[in-house]
Amino acid sequence: MKAPPFAYVRARSLGEVFDLLEHHGESARLLAGGQSLLASLNMRLAAPELLIDITHIAELSGIEVRGRKIRIGALATHAEIQRSAEIARHLPLLSQAAPHIAHVAIRNVGTFGGSLAHADPAAEWPACCVVLDAQFVLRSRAGTRRVAAREFFQGLYATALRPNEILAQVEVAATGTNWRSAFVELSRRRGDYATVGVAALARKSARGVLSDLRVAFLGVGPAPALARASMAALEGKRVSADTIAAAGEALGQDLEPSADLHAAASTKLHLARVITGRALTALAA
């Protein structure tokens, strides 16, 4: 089980990356943490002619706080995010989600941007970015554009990234002190891809009323999407057995799960309802 032959370039700048992408087109692949890419290369499920190693491009790395805006470099590793005190303070949802990603040795290498650009439907970060209303900074020779997370994920492993374009950073507004977040995931074993997971975020009033509620799922569809009907069912209400039931009921409109090896579609919907209840309870706590 050895990877097919390919060439390798360690890019020193984004300009160099753009040159290479222009020259090699779809036969080139970007290599960040490589924690998904290398497995598929070893299994010969992918056969690029060129790997462009972007991990030495300084401007893609780091976690930066500017006022209320957090900029997470595409090369920030899962472990950096998990360890970051800034993230814990300003974006606790990401701190809650990080431990669910695979295992320590993978979190040490796998990157935030790599996971987002790969857009695995069972991955944690895409759903988090959707509820956080993150802006994805995409760069190419033509310049920089920003795409909202909700528009970025377009389907199974499909994103808004154009050919020759690279995800450089993610910008997220800090969630304030009156916000609550929850991340609940069910997987067969620790560190496995989610059977189903949910990221939830809401503003909570002193009286326990939730507003601005945002809920997105992983592992239930081709791409993370907001559960709008369910969110509407709870907006401006307090979390109770009744509102949880209503939100769960509404999920039937929001989700069209597809089966995987571990669960049929109907099972996924049931589990999504269960974890929605748990996430809402956590938000209200």
Partner: protein, 168 residues
């Protein structure tokens, strides 16, 4: 057809890696992962290939001080970095306490997972000295062992943590 190749492509770049404290320079095929490089080029056969898709943990090595899956990193990505393997960390004595505890507790049977397991355990011992039993299990949950019931391994790590707490 797009016109290609203004930048020459390298299929076997030269890399320089500090492996277990020794600087080695080699030309390696770009596609070769770090474990095959260590095993085939350098004869460091203590790190094992168990699945080559990043799940079993038998290939766990340390790169710049952090544990990684050696099968999910290309050798060329290790250029300019420090790589530590079971052989080096045994010779330096860094793993000594854990190795003693594993031996005393029989926290291994066939030994194929053991180098990776020890590196994962050492990562915990160094970084989380107060880890509970369930945190030990969590930290080792990415390293597959088919022989033991994991209990002796958890016991051994717990022994080392307890001994360290006592001595400080």
């Amino acid at each position: 057809m797009r016109r290609k190749k203004e930048i020459p492509l390298e299929h076997a770049p030269e890399i320089t890696v500090t492996v277990n404290g020794t600087i080695v320079t080699r030309r390696v095929p770009a596609r070769r992962h770090l474990i095959d490089f260590l095993r085939e080029e350098l004869g460091l056969t203590g790190s094992h290939t168990g699945c080559e898709h990043g799940v079993c943990g038998a290939c766990t090595v340390r790169v710049d001080g952090r544990i990684v899956r050696g099968c999910l990193m290309l050798a060329v990505q290790a250029d300019g970095r420090r790589v530590d393997t079971i052989e080096g960390l045994s010779d330096s004595g860094e793993l000594g306490e854990l190795q003693e505890a594993f031996h005393r507790r029989n926290a291994l049977q066939c030994g194929f997972c053991t180098p990776g397991m020890l590196l994962a355990a050492q990562d915990l011992v160094a970084g989380h000295p107060d880890a509970s039993r369930s945190e030990i299990r969590e930290h080792l949950s990415g390293n597959y062992c088919r022989c033991t019931g994991y209990q002796a391994i958890v016991d051994a790590v717990e022994d080392v943590l307890a001994a360290r707490r006592k001595s400080t």
